[in-house]
Symmetry: C2
Subunit: 570 residues, 2 copies
């Protein structure tokens, strides 16, 4: 295709609205344009990339035995009321009324719709398992849409929902989907990691997130440097190894006027923060709970909710904390409690000897406390975020590292949450009604485009993976107006490469070579071929891979070899 | 693909909700399922058909030089306020508010969004002409969604918008689109007609609708039996030939007590309704107007609006009619008017001699009036709907026929309506600001699926055109559980046909042959091959084309010939 036949509105300046590199480069390269907050139009070049993502996702879903359907964007409220999410979902669910004042929403996800379909159409275990997927426009009314495609309001998802007669069948499909995702993201040319994730309030047993690794990623993901253990921060754990035994010192109350933080406490007492047991007051359900953590550890609210067996745990307000403990904020501690508040410790907090903690009196802390000797051990659980360097929970030798990731996929065992609420039953082999078991599997199709850019760029622009590039090869015809033989040779090369199966963009614009090169670098095609009167005289082409810094003169056979060498996997 | 791998929930009974054949058969064949009023899920089989329509439409749009983009479904109200359509569009425009209480709508069409894009990105005549298209989900809040996909609320459109520096350029692209639509609907295997259409209130110069011919069509389309003239009923015209001269008779007032209708008037007076000049009172803008038509002709409100140079004409209420004429309803006439009301006649009304009309007095009509002798000729225009048998306006010999059509495409010269309202200008060749000229071009992609069924079915089910069928061939394995050699032979044939490039559905279900045949007929695959122990013994296949009534025994080479003979055009 000639550049004059495709609308590529590149920008010289970086748009002020764009923070993330992917947002900047996709705007600058003319891949997308903003219509309104969180709403983007896919321009011709961007749509070519999006379609490539869609095709790979579709091929791998089909290969896995999933069946493609297409559900409506607009969904009736009744189904969401049945599942209980109409009230629960919050303002990200865009609610609307039709002309008859009936309630609907724009689908951010399709569990309700597919569940309704399943209960109408599936009646026997013989129809199971079945896995339906769609690639479809979704809407989520983000409070602050930002980062371009990364967190837009309207976006494109591949969502799949599987139905099973029992959990064993779900496990098989779950693994099939996990494998399909591995193949999908590999074919997309992305450096990614599958990590264990928490199933949260929705229940279900297992879940994995797929993250594209990028420094700009919003999520912290944890992995072992020795084995294949990987989890997101919500889920990652590390064994609490007992600290080396330390001779118990004499416990004492000390004056610590004005102390409010662990850091201040450590500094005033001349100890490490790891020698402090800090208290964190939370509210679980309706009940206040005192959590104990080592001073240098960070509370993980998700783990606390699991340990306390509630849907959600939140931090207590200062007033709630003082009222629940009868002690002044900054000086609350587990020894000599004035109230009957529930206490739960992180495992690691119980491994600290000679520790300091609040004395439940203004301006007073304990030092050199020891569990059992000075106060009894409370129940304990895993409550902390892991840290880089922590030991791996799976292998005995590795240590954990932390990297940044962009979540692009999620496989999730829903279990019977929806099928119970929406009453999806089938006759099982013995002729009895059985509630079905479900899984769901998402890929952020439009987000993949942004994530790929976050992982593949340099100061000159995007560097598309071979499987995603809008064109495989860019041909730059230099001074084609002045040299008709250059224009003719470039067009002939374009035609031969297209004939050989490559998508080719021929820059036939009447622009300075510098502008032409800058455009090719910005839009990120993997291969560039320059046609000029100079190289024509030598009967060669001037080739440069997008990642290379130098040009190479090649004959056409060599050029073909280089193009073929980086063809995407199928 | 084996039938056990694809979910095809066929129904024996015709769903009560479905009136149209396409709605019935698409539900019964398991192609679609209803989620809510006017909202349908595309099941695996239906989606295969939809994708085929999409692919053909996309290929022909690309071939025509149009560039594919993808715009958001959710559109900001500001743009619709700018174009003036926020107020004007009526309740079919589904309006909604986001979490910040900002107004949006679900796009029923995208003139505003593409106009906004164009004015931001296009600045010079050198960037023109350009034609952007998308294949996208749209929403129209129909008051009574019905007929399944034919008039749903959520539907899939191909919409294209072209931009030009002048009208001459628009004419070229308009013709290119017209030709692309001819190719598209031909490739889709549909019997269709392109007809001239009215541009309506929106202005612009030319417009054509593309109709699939089907007895169930909502629209009347008019065509000549001799030349290629064709138009929709709103637009179609016919020359008003002068009636043979008749000797003028003596005019008289006659008593016609209780007469209200043309038919009653003709009966009481013993004349033909073609000898009556009837009055129709309408309101054009704010003004009442008296229209005159031959008694047997039907008013065309669109033509009246054009003739009166207003956006819209409506019928006057009885009160408005009597107050505007000072005469009693049923007895209003153009002679001896009591008020200064504007009068406009259809051309044909002026060709009637010795006519009867109301006398502007209760229970009184004139008979034997003649223009010029008894009252002066008013202005005249084309105001009537044509009728079958009318002479063709283009050729001298043909007569017009009327058929029913389903509108599936529309090409439309928008002119400068949107570009003026939304201020889309470019620098022209002489460096001056020029308002761009626009065209728009739609295809009802999901409606095509229903229209194809309306045109291709019999009492047993759908008969898909080769280009739209979800599978090219259906193989029915008879008693495959009992005869493993049948199962094996059917599977091997399936594999060979797939290898040869056909999409094959193998019915490997454990069902009676009658059920298997009924399913194949219902879902409408063009070719059926039966594999049974009997035919295996003869070393042949039992073949039947969907439209045929008899089976034929064929060897495999003959089978291939038959399959290849009906492959779709590319």
């Amino acid at each position: 295709m000639r550049a004059s036949q495709i609308f590529i509105p590149t920008l010289k300046e970086t748009p002020a609205e764009a923070e993330l590199v992917s947002h900047q480069l996709l705007l600058r390269g003319g891949f997308i344009r903003r219509l309104a907050s969180g709403l983007y139009t896919w321009m011709p070049l961007g749509l070519r990339v999006l379609r490539k993502v869609e095709r790979i996702v579709r091929e791998e879903m089909d290969r896995s035995g999933a069946q493609e359907v297409l559900m409506p964007v607009v969904q009736p409220a009744e189904l969401w009321q049945e599942s209980g999410r109409w009230e629960k979902y919050g303002p990200e669910l865009l609610r609307l009324k039709d002309r008859h004042q009936r309630d609907f929403c724009l689908g951010p996800t399709h569990e309700e719709v597919i569940s309704d379909l399943a209960r109408r159409e599936i009646h026997s275990y013989k129809q199971l398992p079945v896995n339906f997927y769609q690639i479809q426009t979704k809407f989520r009314d983000e409070i602050r849409p930002r980062f371009g495609l990364m967190r837009g309001r309207e976006f494109i998802m591949k969502d799949a929902y599987s139905f099973h007669v029992d959990h064993a069948s779900l496990e098989i499909t779950y693994q099939t989907m996990y494998d399909a995702y591995q193949r999908t993201f590999t074919r997309l040319g992305l450096d990614f990691r599958a990590v264990e994730a928490d199933n949260g309030a929705i229940g279900g047993k297992r879940s994995h997130e797929f993250h594209v690794l990028a420094d700009s990623g919003e999520d912290a993901i944890v992995s072992c440097d020795h084995c294949d253990y990987a989890a997101n921060m919500e889920k990652a754990s590390s064994p609490a190894k007992a600290a080396p035994a330390e001779a118990p010192l004499e416990a004492a109350r000390v004056q610590t006027p004005g102390i409010r933080t662990v850091a201040e406490q450590a500094a005033m007492l001349g100890i490490s923060s790891s020698q402090i047991v800090k208290t964190v007051l939370v509210v679980a359900g309706e009940q206040p709970v005192m959590l104990l953590l080592r001073g240098d550890d960070e509370l993980n609210l998700i783990k606390a909710a699991h340990a306390l067996e509630v849907d959600e745990v939140r931090m207590a307000t200062p007033e709630e904390a003082e009222s629940a403990t009868g002690a002044p904020l900054g000086f609350i501690g587990p020894k000599d409690l004035k109230t009957s508040i529930r206490v739960l410790a992180d495992h690691r907090a119980l491994n600290v000897g000679n520790f300091s903690t609040g004395a439940n009196e203004m301006d007073t802390h304990w030092v050199n406390l020891n569990w059992d000797r000075d106060l009894s051990c409370p129940d304990s659980a895993d409550l902390r975020n892991v840290r880089a360097g922590d030991p791996c929970p799976h292998c005995s030798t590795g240590t954990l590292g932390i990297r940044r990731g962009i979540e692009v996929g999620h496989v999730f065992q829903l279990g019977q949450v929806y099928s119970e609420r929406m009453k999806i039953t089938v006759l099982d082999e013995s002729g009895r009604d059985a509630t079905v078991t479900m899984g769901c599997y998402g890929i952020g199709v439009s987000r993949v485009v942004a994530a790929a850019v976050e992982q593949h760029f340099d100061e000159r622009g995007i560097i598309w993976p071979a499987s995603l590039t809008p064109f495989d090869v860019g041909i730059v015809a230099i001074n084609a107006r002045k040299f008709p033989e250059v224009a003719a040779a470039a067009q002939a090369l374009h035609d031969r490469l297209e004939q050989a199966g490559f998508n080719v963009l021929l820059d036939d614009r009447d622009e300075r070579p510098g502008v032409q090169f800058a455009t090719m670098d910005l839009i990120g095609l993997p291969h560039r071929v320059v046609v000029s009167d100079k190289v024509l005289a030598q009967n060669v082409w001037e080739y440069r891979a997008r990642r290379a810094s130098e040009n190479t003169l090649v004959n056409e056979a060599e050029l073909m070899d280089r193009l073929n060498a980086s063809s995407p996997v199928h």
